[in-house]
């Protein structure tokens, strides 16, 4: 079975909510919508305090090349614009909306029927995705329309759809691929048209046999879309690893997938593209998994952006007594939340609640030079060495050892028998090394 070649680990899958159908979460009383929810230049505010808004109203505009629009997920009145900590823990400009009813913009097609025919031209597709704020929903939240604008001199020949969901616990893509299959497949056809390629490959790990079987059946009606089962191995959902696993092309160090003629999009993004292009619906809701070993009812919810995380936790039976850590995202790459004040943003794929015992790290011992981190690093790096260089401030040496190739998948720290905080040090090293490089380039 296909998989990527170098490194990789297999953490316990813990997909507690994989059998739970997507439920629609009720609209919050108050929505907290962070102004910039994507990777790239900040969006510029388009509303002010006291404005009456509807679901789908443009709240902020992405004016730079790599930026994204933001739309309201609720209808009501803008109560205030304030600085509130988001998932990263930092205070960010946030639009607070007092919710009144659920009134949608007229332009949005609210009907439930599936619109199959793709009438939009490639240019219109890209424009629609840009206007309606589509970003990558796998977690990186890179503005999706930018990916379709292939730079001069490069050519894409394959579209890859990431349905791997290699993070333990998370099941939002799993459920979406099962329940919104047709919409997602139309979304893929739209992306293919936008990118002007003939072939699309969907990569799904073998721990989701129901999805693979269902997709294989459904894709018979969609020419040019293939489904590939992949061996379960983390981090297969990392785009470079996924490309390697599916078509055996290796993205050069420091380059983007387009270098090898590939564009990768998440399965959830494909669904959002369908809704945007076919239904004129901006990206203002997404599927979020709320899970954890102590959680009463691990679930998958369709959630409006801006819903406070506390409401998601209420919906699964409240915060367990022994909660030690709350993570936005999965356990391998997610961010630990500072408080429940923050709200759902476009990039939040799951909320994972860990108990006190799980929240505790192993005691840190000496490195015993077992070489495990070297053998599992999917980028072929030497994590122990990078961590050591970072610890002692030798960032130039770290740069020579390709520290910037690190994708922060966390496999090294996961696997270290001495419990060493390898990735903590490597992150520090990456930040410092980038700074050094920036300063060097300035001169």
């Amino acid at each position: 079975m296909k998989t990527f070649r170098i490194g990789g680990v297999h953490p316990p899958e813990s997909k507690l909510s994989e059998k739970e159908k997507i439920k629609i979460l009720s609209i919050p009383q108050k929505a907290f919508i962070t102004v910039t929810q994507h990777m790239g230049a900040p969006s510029v505010l388009n509303v002010k305090r006291g404005d009456k808004i509807k679901v789908g109203t443009l709240l902020a505009k992405g004016e730079a090349f790599i930026s994204a629009n933001l739309h309201s997920s609720v209808s009501g009145k803008v109560a205030k614009i304030d600085n509130i900590p988001d998932a990263s823990g930092y205070k960010k400009p946030t639009i607070v909306i007092d919710v009144e009813g659920d009134e949608w913009e007229e332009s949005i097609d609210c009907s439930s029927d599936i619109k199959k025919e793709i009438t939009a031209s490639p240019e219109e597709i890209i424009q629609k995705m840009k206007d309606l704020g589509i970003v990558g929903l796998g977690g990186a939240t890179f503005p999706s329309h930018v990916k379709l604008m292939v730079p001069k001199g490069k050519k894409a020949d394959i579209l890859i759809i990431n349905g791997v969901e290699c993070e333990p616990y998370l099941t939002s893509d799993h459920r979406l691929m099962l329940e919104k299959t047709e919409e997602m497949l139309i979304g893929i056809q739209i992306l293919k048209k936008g990118l002007q390629v003939e072939r699309a490959l969907i990569g799904v790990e073998n721990n989701k046999p129901d999805v693979i079987e269902h997709l294989k059946k459904m894709t018979k009606n969609f020419p040019g879309i293939e489904v590939h089962a992949l061996k379960v191995k983390y981090p297969q959902g990392a785009e470079k690893q996924l490309i390697k696993a599916l078509i055996n092309r290796e993205v050069p160090s420091g380059k983007l997938p387009i270098e090898v003629g590939v564009v990768v999009n998440n399965a959830g993004t494909a669904f959002a593209v369908y809704e945007a292009v076919q239904k004129n619906k901006p990206l203002f809701e997404r599927v979020v998994t709320v899970t954890g070993k102590s959680v009463k009812n691990p679930s998958n919810f369709l959630v409006r952006i801006g819903t406070p995380i506390s409401e998601l936790i209420e919906a699964v039976g409240g915060l367990p007594e022994d909660t030690g850590k709350i993570i936005s995202g999965g356990p391998m790459m997610g961010k630990a939340l500072v408080s429940l004040e923050s709200s759902v943003a476009k990039g939040v794929s799951g909320i994972l609640i860990m108990n006190k015992k799980e929240a505790k790290r192993k005691a840190v011992l000496n490195c015993i030079r077992c070489g495990k981190c070297v053998s599992i690093c999917p980028m072929g790096l030497e994590p122990f060495l990078l961590a050591q260089y970072s610890e002692f401030g030798e960032f130039e040496s770290a740069e020579k050892e390709n520290i910037l190739d690190c994708v922060e998948c966390g496999s090294c720290q996961f696997t270290c028998p001495s419990g060493r905080p390898l990735l903590d040090y490597i992150r520090l090293g990456k930040a410092k090394t980038s700074e050094i490089i920036r300063n060097r380039n300035k001169k």
């Binding site: 850590k325 391998m332 000496n366 790096l381 990735l423």
Partner: protein, 330 residues
């Protein structure tokens, strides 16, 4: 509301730990240990117990009174050093020599560098080589298996097969004659021949090694390249002149070779980190072993070969990097 833990990802860790690795190594050594008790009896039990106890004690004392840190003896690494040191000495070694060996292993080779993970050389081998050079007589009087097990004192001693062959060849005897003077291959494989107490039984060491491979404590790279280079190098010599050089199989089942392959050369701390590095490391040990055995002054060369290659590990780590993903060819 109770406080939340904040930390960087990843938020989960594998259940592997240093302690578990060490336990597994100890489990892997049990078959060889039992065989040594069978062949060498009380002597083997005594040497093992004293070696392990003094290694643990030295580690505890040094940690407690010199380094003044947390005691590390419960990570079991000192216990492994103790067993390996015992494996590397004759079963009739006087108690005081064993204690000196333990002190050199733990005190000098391990703790003076900062303890587990910091030592450049394999501690048990440093101890053994120190004893071999300091006490050559006691270190090379090998009790005969079975016979010595029946006696509590004054064990009957005899040379190891390697020593028989080495001396014979030096005296100009032909290999085919010498082969009649040593135990059969089956005996040497099982352990019914003279030697250090843990090295005699190749088969139990191989079983232990397979266990370690199965448990993913060690990888195949070092053992395969070590054995491979021994076979190739000694095989070439043997093909050139089978009356002057012994066949590769003899080299594989005698002396400390299997002990070296699976328990010494694969020591995580003192071996390279990358797969390529391990292949080079193992091949180097194999070639040096045969060089010393065939052309050197000592009949056995595994310990020296491993220690010499230990010294090359930092260089190997620098020179042989793993293949980077998406490496741009310059």
């Amino acid at each position: 509301m109770n406080l939340l833990t904040i930390s960087g990802s990843p938020h989960i860790q594998d259940d592997q730990s240093v302690k578990k690795i060490m336990y597994n190594v100890i489990v892997a050594m049990i078959p060889a240990l039992l065989v040594s008790f069978y062949y060498f009896g009380y002597g083997a039990v005594k040497v093992t117990l004293i070696s392990v106890a003094s290694c643990l004690l030295f580690e505890y004392l040094i940690q407690r009174f010199l380094i003044k840190g947390k005691t590390s003896i419960n990570d079991c690494s000192a216990m492994i050093t103790g067993v390996l040191l015992a494996f590397n000495v004759p079963s009739n070694l006087p108690v005081w020599i064993i204690i000196i060996g333990a002190f050199v292993s733990i005190g000098i080779a391990k703790m003076s560098f900062g303890g587990l993970g910091k030592n450049p050389f394999n501690p048990a081998l440093v101890g053994r080589v120190f004893l071999l050079i300091s006490f050559p007589v006691q270190m090379t009087s090998w009790p005969k298996p079975i016979e010595s097990a029946r006696q509590l004192t004054d064990a009957v001693t005899g040379p190891t097969p390697l020593a028989v062959v080495k001396e014979g060849i030096n005296n100009g005897e032909a290999v085919s004659d010498l082969m009649t003077k040593i135990p059969t291959y089956v005996d040497m494989l099982l352990g019914n021949s003279g030697g250090s107490l843990g090295e005699v039984s190749a088969i139990t060491l191989i079983i232990g090694g397979i266990y370690l491979l199965f448990k993913k404590i060690i990888t195949w790279h070092t053992p395969v390249s070590f054995i491979g280079s021994v076979v190739i190098f000694s095989g070439i010599l043997w093909l050139v002149n089978p009356e002057q050089f012994v066949n590769p199989l003899f080299h594989l089942v005698t002396g400390g070779l299997m002990l070296g392959v699976f328990f010494m050369a694969t020591d995580m701390v003192t071996s390279p980190m990358s797969a390529k590095g391990m292949l080079i490391f193992g091949a180097g040990i194999g070639i040096l072993t045969i060089l010393i055995r065939v052309f050197g002054a000592y009949p056995e060369g595994v310990s020296f070969a491993i220690l010499i290659m230990n010294a090359f590990v930092p260089l190997i780590n620098k020179a042989f990097k793993p293949k980077r993903f998406g490496e741009v060819v310059k």
